[in-house]
């Protein structure tokens, strides 16, 4: 949509870039805060033990106060500490999900672009099959039949996510292959694999970075949704989706149990969406105004 904004009357490229920078700044700032919270959780959290197996039934379900900023949960754990520690769970899992998805998706995309023909056809039909399922459903099905654990969760979501990168990289390879400079390379007798590695892959990195950043929010939402359904993190892991699920039973009277962990999910997903949007506006060369 940024292209369109650029073409729109009255909006100059400068204003567009400034707006994109605002998005990047906002997104980067929140992501930085999340990283800091994740790294320094033991120092920032007032009750670090509450992120683990500690329980204090005598102070269960207390409303937010100065002692417990976000209140306490059904076994007396400090919700604020657990929300802070949550920054170490879903975002980290999301990182590994995207890493695995790229590790599967990118080479397959390059292979489809490199070999073309039957290989391309087979790889792309397989991605079509995986893309016939919404990612949440496919990962739900996989993780439901595996033993529930964070490892199963990571693998299940990565299985649902890799085809997007195969498609992206292959499309990139196809579009670059037609450019004059690639033709020039071919005329010079440079082997095809070298063209792919030196010219096609580097040119695909920018859209890949943008896509990964945009997807990070979606992956975090998927992780928390599956944990909410009981298919991901298990108590006492301070995963935000699981905390929402655990708070659901007490929600009518103890609103803080659900509200704060959910807000953490929203803010985190929002940060990555903003960052990805901004990155796309500035980095993606195809979207720069032609004028």
């Amino acid at each position: 949509m940024s292209t369109l904004l650029a073409r729109a009357p009255g909006v100059s490229a400068v204003r567009r870039a400034a707006r994109a920078n605002q998005l990047i700044t906002a997104g980067t700032l929140i992501v930085a805060v999340i990283v800091v919270v994740a790294v320094f959780a033991p120092l920032l959290a007032p009750y670090p033990a509450d992120a683990g197996t500690a329980t204090h039934p005598e102070i269960a379900l207390q409303a937010p106060s100065l002692r417990h900023l976000f209140g306490t949960d059904q076994v007396g754990r400090d919700v604020f500490s657990r929300v802070l520690y949550g920054a170490r769970v879903s975002p980290v899992i999301a990182f590994f999900v995207l890493l695995i998805a790229c590790a599967i998706g990118v080479p397959l995309g390059v292979a489809a672009g490199y070999f073309g023909g039957v290989t391309d056809e087979i790889i792309m039909r397989v991605t079509d099959v995986f893309l016939a399922f919404p990612a949440l459903l496919l990962s739900l099905a996989f993780v439901a039949v595996l033993t529930p654990s964070l490892t199963s969760l990571t693998i299940a979501i990565a299985i649902a996510w890799w085809p997007w990168y195969t498609r992206l990289i292959r499309g990139q390879a196809a579009s670059v292959a037609g450019r004059p400079y690639v033709e020039a390379c071919r005329t010079l007798g440079i082997p095809r694999w070298r063209i792919l590695l030196r010219h096609v892959l580097p040119n695909s990195m920018t859209p890949l970075v943008v896509q990964v950043s945009l997807d990070a929010g979606g992956v975090i939402l998927t992780i928390s949704a599956l944990s909410f359904l009981g298919l991901g993190a298990q108590d006492p892991v301070p995963e935000w989706g699981l905390m929402v699920a655990e708070g659901e039973n007490y929600f009518t009277t103890q609103w803080w149990l659900v509200t704060y962990p959910g807000l953490a999910i929203l803010v985190t997903a929002l940060a990555f969406t903003l960052l990805g949007d901004g990155l796309r506006d500035t980095l993606d060369p195809r979207r720069l105004p032609v004028r």
Binding site: R15, A141, L221, A225, F228, E248
Partner: protein, 338 residues
């Protein structure tokens, strides 16, 4: 067009075959012995052997895949472990409720999203445009199970302006019995002129539908905005302007006409996503649809039911894509000639 149709349908058949194989793989991944799950933990060796034979586990892999395919084609999708009913008939019972919810959500998404997108395109860069962008980004980043709980707390529990859960007021079952034909209370009430149930079911539909609409509203608003802005630079739009048509007519009537096609395409794709998003919402609102069925199946480790629902939605998605592509090709020759 015929050539395009044949090619597109052939592709869809290949994808469907792949979808069936993928669900077979998922069903086969279950750790442990399915025969044990079927016969129970205290089964004797003979009972286990009978279970293995009954489930076809003693046969080689290609035979089992063949049988699985045959079963899918003939409507034998296996038996649910927790309801003891055929999975396909369970899906048939649950699907209408989900359909009602998702269609209501998509109606909200279009009725709200398209005007928002048009307004953003009318005044790009304005405060309104930014506000609409924020709404869209929030919708895409929203954990909808959380949104469902928050809205339920605020509007049903605290303000008491909307019902907490269910499809319609259970007291009406005795005073105004509903003739069920489609399993969709709103439609059934309309068909039989049962206005009491209609009012109640519409009120029950509001909260879950708004929650499911959160994601599509943003997507549709952004899509509409992008498509309309895209047409504004074109010569025929400039001509309309030079002819003196007011800006709102240029955007609302002429630019939107071109934008409907891609917006409709996005709508079809968002449909499948909303089906799955309803999984997270249905159990919160006690909505007796596919989502409640799926979450109950997950809790009882009911593999045939989970795989059945997965397969069903995969097929719906492939069908939706196929229909969109064919309709678009029929409307726009540039697509089928590409």
């Amino acid at each position: 067009m015929t050539r395009y149709t044949i090619r597109r349908v052939a592709l869809a058949i290949v994808v469907v075959a792949g979808v069936v194989i993928l669900t077979f793989v998922i069903a086969d991944l279950v750790p442990g012995d399915p025969a044990v799950a079927w016969a129970g933990p205290h089964a004797s060796a003979a009972q286990l052997a009978r279970a293995r034979q009954y489930l076809g586990l003693d046969q080689p892999l290609p035979v089992r895949i063949g049988k699985y395919f045959g079963g899918i084609l003939t409507g034998n999708w296996g038996t649910s472990i927790h309801t003891h009913q055929p999975v396909l008939s369970d899906i048939g019972t649950a699907a209408p409720a989900t359909l009602e919810l998702v269609v209501a959500a998509l109606i909200i998404a279009v009725v709200v999203g398209v005007p928002l997108g048009l307004a953003a395109a009318r005044w790009p860069g304005s405060i309104l445009d930014h506000a609409i962008r924020v709404i869209a980004v929030l919708g895409v980043s929203m954990p909808i199970f959380w949104l469902a709980l928050i809205l339920q707390l605020v509007f049903a529990q605290r303000l008491r302006v909307l019902p907490v859960a269910g499809q319609y007021d259970p007291n009406l079952i005795f005073t105004h019995p509903l003739v069920t034909r489609t399993q969709m209370p709103v439609v059934d009430a309309l068909l039989s002129g049962n206005w009491a149930v209609l009012g109640s079911s519409l009120r029950h539909l509001v909260l879950p539908a708004v929650v499911v609409a959160a994601y599509p509203v943003g997507v549709i608003a952004r899509m509409t905005r992008a498509q309309v802005l895209d047409t504004l630079g074109e010569t025929h739009v400039q001509m309309l302007r030079s002819l003196g048509f007011p800006e709102r007519t240029v955007i609302g009537r002429f630019s939107m006409k071109l934008a409907w096609n891609p917006v409709a395409a996005v709508l079809a794709l968002v449909f499948a996503y909303s089906l799955v998003n309803s999984f997270l919402v249905e159990s919160i609102f006690d909505w007796p649809g596919l989502g409640s069925y799926a979450t109950a199946s997950v809790e009882t480790l009911d593999t045939p039911a989970i795989v059945g629902v997965t397969l069903f939605i995969g097929l719906v998605y492939v069908a939706a894509n196929l229909i969109v592509d064919l309709v678009q090709a029929a409307l726009d020759p540039r697509i089928r000639l590409r």
